[in-house]
Subunit: 346 residues, 4 copies
């Protein structure tokens, strides 16, 4: 039984970790960290956990937790994890960081886009970008995982094979993304009130969203060179789900069948990636509550472009689910342990 | 042209007042009061007002405003209006208070249910409860109007005729109410975040909601004696709308036609009250954006009870619309000026 | 491994059965019946099942299915199951009927409220009303289960102990219920279109809903005499969830503690019923996706009444989840097999 | 008083026409055409119109209606209007067709994308594309108006000035559009049920939506040559509103100020087009219920592209509102008569 601690367990991603881990056979939560709710019963913060979790919220003493836990999930604000990391912690436990602190290898880019100083850049090199389907072998031996962002996970998984195979041009990429509101977190802000989000759609972070450099770095690896993309997220009046609609210029003449075969060759054996049937396009409702990413594409000969779509639950594959998948890989468990969740509809 | 000031113009009710008054031919807003946003352009707080309102938000100096305005709307937290009221203000201007400060005649009941001291109980007697269809003549000559609460407006209008005519027993009344989320205001609270309200229904203020004594007082006038009712509000994942479903024991044997005739005799000439056809029940979507209250009832001979339903837009007839209707009455304008709004669907 | 067939597998309740059974270790679906989609791949009707279900939809030949299956779930329109039932089927298999056909013992009441002739009243006596927490022992030995309606499940579980203990008067009961829209089924009707349901709340079936006699019969058993109640359902703009708010006259003076103890004595050992802490009231979001019913109450000394609230996922405990719970009981499995689902929020 | 008839008055666009015309001082509806509801009272189809409309629904006898009405709005399925048009009608009345029949000048393109034969191509030349801000003078003298599609209106208004001024390349255009569900109409289809649309986002009509050629034709006029664009609509769980996010390659180096000045020079005097302040981006909630189109842009020097956004109420400026605006122009009324509606929020 893996002993697990969560720092930041009362945010939406943290709570989703609790949901998944309670249904996981090989892991046990020993520490529900939450600076805001110390000493409050966890179920009083999330009544769905009534009679399922009896523990109280604890502080974020990561040093002490590192002594007790085999693994720590940090679902904390940007900068928090990096500010505490040290050799002692990493020699005592493993870390899966759900924040952005170790996702971007170039510390200047991180500091530029996030507007904060990185307090432990010495671990950037060691940290593994935990996109399981791409970096599986590296993850297995890692001590420190940078759990990918929600938008980047959906974007990279959807586009990676086509860039890697030279089908599309990296610099032509335009990613128009749409997310449910849980991605905005549980902070009490006017912009996230029910009446402000409901019956509305808007773009935000236009030409400036922090997930842009994360996407560019990872897709740059696929392209074999650095690339610049446009990434425009939109806020959708729904709880969960991310849909990305990406547009790329074709670098060569390809048929539907050829592109399909590329996807199959990359993902044919992947349990959590589903390449849909021809002309069936991803919808967030079909993955809700599960760890799946649904992907499909459409060639547009009129404009010599391809339209690529991916759908995912932002709290599962986009956060807590992928974190558990990383845990499973790091501890040699079945990769899908605790994750064979049938999407819940409606 | 009536010169109007609004104190609390950046809450949802305040903003709805702005929407209605911009479409009103005889009134002009000269003061957009908002303690939280002083000196900010009003349209930056509500972008729907871009190019419609150029004014900046102002403070809540009610003394100064009383010198400039013919009428002041106070859409402010409980206690605010009462704490500032004095003879000087009332001799210079008229007041329509959208808070609860002057709704309840018995100051002990007010202080008990609201948990605050009433700072100007000397005006309770003068203040007129601004339920237009019931107190029309009193309103015409008032200086100080207590604009009714949203739930009380819908409840009292729906039930009043039957109590007055002795059809139902006052103490048997159970009012199960449902409201959209704009009723909870624009304050940044976790409980009102999109993800907390969406896909959920809950009761709140069970056996303790502050609108209970307001309902009891007004329905007590109809019954001719003091009564105790159960009032249970619920929060519905929608922006606007209140539906009340009320249950009462029949005091005498009545037919559908007899009850219908009672309603017709009270409301047959009322523009803003619509008694629906038999077996067509009120739905909030059919009144959205308008000043209507839709009412209907169903006799249940199996249990010797009557079920009464009323639907209303909580921000219009339940707040800003009724406030404008009161203004029209106080200034001798057409009662429906600025209020002949066709409900917007969908 | 129990071989299971589902007739009506492409309705919302049928699909929820599929979701639950795919995660059940002791059952295997061998027949996805769906008259409307014969020969279509099941996942083409519900894309969440892509790569999880490869079977095609089949007809509703219940005689043939009875030969192959250990258990048949019928999630079919009223009258269908009763029209096909015979001794041969019941000697070959077990039946859990999710329709209303065998819920009401008095065939006249059934025919009166449902407006159709009952084609096999001879099985009414044998059929067990499958409310697991109340009829557990009878269910274990049943061949034919009448799976309770969604509203009745939530209502009866919430009120049963208080009636049984004589705390409240049966004839005083008023049940004001609210349901998500999945309860209305997947039929293509204008009334259930997105734009008609969204941003609206309405009552329906006022004083005439078919779940009324089902509630009255079962609560009558608790009261020890026949009772008449008011039951008013409302349609809420959300996918899942039922909340009932019930009002009853107190028959004796009781304290919070006494009522709490009654609930504990009935449900203290029930895994799927959670009596909440004092003044914490049920909300549908906290049970979504799970088999829980959350219950609480509030005494109102001002009116000498009690307010009882219950929340449930209408598709799980209100339909498919309870059906699986019944299956587990009938086949001697762990009662919670396949049902220890953590509620999913948000 | 202009006598107006509506054929197709019980669809969402038809009903919105009724809402707007009831608040219009110079027009009177004399014919509520609805093939599906002949002889039914109009308010029984739309209860918001109770006591506002007493008329019954009538057939679609356009010849007879042409004798009675000064103007006919056809809010009918594709092909209907074209199949009935003749000289007699056009000599007796004016027509504003809300369908696509006369929007596309090239009959082959129409027949190809719509899959139906055009029954009166002889009127294509005469018909004026009723995008008021672009074709104002032509509209004033027209007998037959092709009222633009919802997506095309929002797209063309947002992009037109930049194409016309040679700022962006036409063939580089990618339009990622998002619409509320009222755009899908009131037909009873499973795909538009509440539970299917709610908590979901999806693309549809990928690389094949019928509004593509309409956009291409109109933007081609701006570009001065034929262009091919990608247009991808998405369905958003909300009632009203369209947001387009468009991406174009810059043809020259431009500053924020230069682009802003272009927009100002085209739209500075337009009442219904609002160019927002820098870095304030359009959101559908801020235009709901009104005839406004809110537009803004963001230069992205990293990729040498521009991101253009536009928001609109699909039922107002995208359908009925623009139709009324066209009527006002055709009859020499104030262009904003009946249209100075303050957007309703929340």
């Amino acid at each position: 039984m893996i002993k697990v601690g969560i720092i930041g367990s009362t945010g939406y991603a943290g709570q989703e970790l609790v949901r998944l881990l309670l249904q996981h056979k090989e892991a046990e939560i020993i520490w529900y960290g939450s600076r805001s709710y110390i000493d409050k019963k966890y179920y009083e913060v999330y009544q769905n956990m009534f009679q399922l979790v009896t523990a109280k919220c604890m502080d974020d003493n990561i040093e002490e937790l590192a002594n007790q836990a085999d693994l720590i999930f940090t679902a904390t604000p940007q900068g928090f994890c990096a500010s505490l990391m040290n050799d002692n912690i990493l020699s005592n436990t493993k870390i899966i960081d759900l924040s952005a602190d170790y996702r971007i290898k170039d510390v200047d880019i991180y500091e530029d886009w996030y507007g904060i100083e990185h307090k432990s850049p010495e671990y950037l090199n060691e940290a593994v970008y935990g996109l399981c389907e791409i970096n599986r072998e590296l993850i297995k031996n890692a001590r420190l995982i940078a759990n990918p962002g929600c938008y980047p996970t959906c974007t990279i998984l959807s586009i990676y094979p086509l860039l890697k195979e030279g089908i599309i041009s990296g610099d032509s990429l335009i990613i128009d993304a749409k997310s449910g509101t849980s991605g905005a977190g549980r902070g009490a802000r006017v912009n996230n009130l029910y009446c402000e989000v409901n019956e509305n759609i808007k773009a935000y972070g236009v030409a400036s969203h922090r997930h842009t450099p994360e996407i560019e770095e990872q897709l740059g690896y696929a392209a074999g060179k650095s690339i610049n993309v446009i990434f425009t997220p939109h806020l959708v009046p729904m709880n969960r789900g991310i849909l990305i609609t990406a547009y790329g210029n074709l670098e060569k003449k390809v048929s539907y069948k050829e592109v399909k075969e590329i996807y199959n060759s990359y993902y044919g054996n992947e349990e959590f990636i589903r390449i849909l049937d021809e002309d069936v396009f991803p919808e967030t409702r079909w993955v809700e509550g599960s760890n799946y990413t649904d992907i499909n594409f459409k060639l547009d000969p009129r404009t010599n472009r391809i339209i690529i779509m991916g759908a995912m639950d932002n709290l599962v594959k986009g956060a807590a689910g992928q974190a558990v998948q990383n845990m499973n890989l790091m501890f040699g468990l079945k990769e899908n342990e605790g994750l064979n969740l049938v999407p819940m509809f409606p």
